[in-house]
């Protein structure tokens, strides 16, 4: 297990490095002169040149990159062009709301998705199965921002039960988490169903049933346990989808998270913030995948040995 852990950890290093190269290159891919961008449109020639020196943009690229890596390692992310606050502070303020939103959404998605998936797997072809199949394709096709607006219209504007947006109490979580988690729930339901059906067709399940093991034990112990292993992987992968989806849902519900910070920064062309956020999202995603792989290795010894 330890060796597997090390190997998997080592595997992520090239990806992280490549991601850092991309995010570093980001500023150099922008149209126009980055020094002028930081200095501002009205800056004089001297000011621009000073910024260039200050940001070491006059040094060779590889030196800039190494410097950039070093800064990242020390969490020196620069300052926002818009507010002049350190980017780390800005991101720090927004980090927890987004984390909580994705976690609560994921809990909802797992409960609804796995629940529906198992129900439709157990009663294949039944009413629950048909409803779940319809719900799943609908969930995948439903624009999250539209779902958010419809919920807001009904529960906030018309009924006045829930706040239209913002962050604070549990009531603020209900609609954003439902909106964000539903698409994932749909994917999970489809996947769980097919995983369940696959395992239910295995020889050992048939054997268990034929030797008279109670149906409940067959479903819970023999089938579900094994069917849920691939679901763990999917849950992890869907976290990435949630992070991406949070960008849109946060905009709908005025959620003070990383997603809205990113959108505001893109509109304002606040490049230090954009750069830091893209790096953060990618690193988070790579780390989540790593954790998923490790969990997977724990529950499925076959993977470890490969």
């Amino acid at each position: 297990m330890f060796e597997y852990f090390l190997r998997r950890l080592a595997g992520t290093i090239p990806v992280l490095l490549a991601v850092s190269v991309f995010v570093f290159a980001f500023v150099h891919m922008l149209p126009g002169d980055p020094a002028r961008m930081v200095a501002g449109q009205d800056a004089s020639y001297e000011q621009v040149e000073n910024v260039r020196k200050e940001l070491l943009l006059d040094r060779p690229l590889w030196e800039q990159y190494l410097r950039y890596l070093n800064q990242m390692a020390h969490l020196e992310l620069g300052r926002s062009i818009k507010t002049h606050e350190p980017v780390l502070t800005l991101i720090g303020q927004r980090f927890m709301p987004t984390l909580w939103l994705t976690v609560v959404s994921m809990i909802w998605a797992v409960i609804a998705g796995v629940g529906l998936g198992v129900l439709s797997g157990v009663w294949r072809g039944g009413v629950a199965d048909r409803l779940a199949a319809g719900g799943a394709i609908l969930g995948i096709s439903f624009p999250s921002f539209w779902l958010g607006l419809l919920l807001m219209d009904l529960f906030s504007v018309r009924l006045g039960w829930l706040p239209t947006g913002g962050y604070g109490t549990w009531a603020h979580f209900v609609m954003p988490a439902f909106t964000l988690g539903s698409a994932v729930a749909a994917v999970m339901a489809r996947f769980t169903r097919s995983a369940y059906i696959e395992v239910a067709g295995e020889d050992y399940v048939r054997t268990a049933r034929s030797k008279g093991v109670p149906e409940r034990t067959v479903i819970w112990t023999h089938t579900l346990r094994n069917a849920l292993i691939p679901v763990i992987t999917l849950t992890g992968l869907q976290f990435g989808f949630l992070l991406g989806g949070a960008i849109v849902v946060e905009t709908v519900f005025a959620w003070p998270g990383l997603g809205r910070l990113l959108i505001d920064s893109v509109s304002f062309r606040d490049y230090p913030v954009i750069q830091a956020e893209i790096l953060l999202f990618a690193v988070e995603f790579v780390l989540i995948n790593l954790i998923v792989d490790l969990l997977y290795g724990m529950v499925n010894p076959e993977i470890r040995l490969k």
Partner: protein, 284 residues
């Protein structure tokens, strides 16, 4: 002499596809949507951009089937024009992403070795940016606007196609007919284009159809958050963003464009599912 009834693969596929009623209905919906988008200049009852200050925020009526927006513009007309925008963006981005992805996938799978390693590492890195994020990064570099949205969405489709095609290519490379062609000295370019590419197409077409749904959804999302189509251009996501300010006052602004997105995306997803089921034998 007995005659045996042998169907061509195309006819066999159509026979199986036709039996799937949901997919057939989806195909009909897609045809109607495409036709409406093309015929927009003739069938849209009103101008898409000219304001009418005598008809602000009107609900659905005989004059305006889907009501009017905050500038008095007819929502149905804007939805028809918006369909043109959404379908064009979806189609172009899928085609672009598909061509680049398929090319990378075939090259990667066919040559193997360091070329494969290099291409797959790049793909891994692209996949490290979750969901809508790569699209936002591209828009951040190129600036907001529909053309850039096409590039952005195309880019995020590339890894999916590349991985899919690489896998098929690896399998096809070992088949007898490819080995035979290779042994009689068929050039590598011709092997890839004439012998391997056609074999990858069924899976690619299924993915492309499913990807149309995703792309249209992503484009609408980008426009909704203000990074895609710019006003007064009628785009479904952008129209929804307008509607947000009038929830409870003029719900129709929010309801109709959203319905248009849902129906379109649903149609492409169900159509793709149907294609996959009809092609299933070849895919597995």
């Amino acid at each position: 002499m007995t005659t045996t009834n042998i169907r061509s693969p195309g006819r066999e596929f159509w026979r199986r596809f036709r039996r799937q009623h949901v997919a057939m209905v989806s195909l009909a919906v897609i045809i109607i949507l495409v036709a409406a988008a093309f015929l927009a200049p003739w069938i849209a009852p009103y101008s898409q951009t000219t304001p009418d200050y005598d008809a602000l925020l009107e609900g659905p009526s005989w004059a305006h089937w889907a009501g009017t927006d905050s500038y008095g513009r007819d929502i149905l007309s804007r939805m028809i024009w918006g369909g043109q925008v959404s379908l064009t963006v979806g189609f172009l981005s899928v085609i672009l992403g598909c061509v680049v992805g398929v090319a990378l996938g075939i090259i990667s799978g066919f040559f193997g070795g360091w070329i494969d390693g290099l291409i797959m590492r790049v793909i891994d890195v692209m996949l490290a940016f979750p969901g809508i994020l790569p699209a936002i990064a591209v828009v951040a570099i190129l600036g907001p606007g529909l053309v850039n949205v096409i590039y952005a969405i195309a880019l995020s489709a590339v890894p999916v196609f590349a991985r899919l095609v690489r896998g098929t290519t690896l399998a096809l490379k070992e088949t007898l007919y490819v080995q035979a062609s290779r042994s009689i000295g068929v050039s590598r370019t011709k092997l890839m284009l004439r012998h391997i590419l056609p074999g990858t197409l069924p899976a690619v077409i299924v993915y492309a159809s499913l990807r149309m749904g995703t792309s249209i959804l992503t484009a609408a999302a980008l426009s909704f958050i203000g990074l895609g189509a710019q006003p007064p251009s009628p785009e479904w996501g952008a129209m929804l963003s307008d509607g947000r300010s009038y929830l409870g006052v003029a719900d129709h602004i929010t309801i109709f464009p959203g319905l248009a997105i849902l129906i379109t995306v649903l149609a492409f997803n169900l159509f793709g599912d149907g294609l996959r089921d009809a092609l299933d034998q070849k895919l597995r």
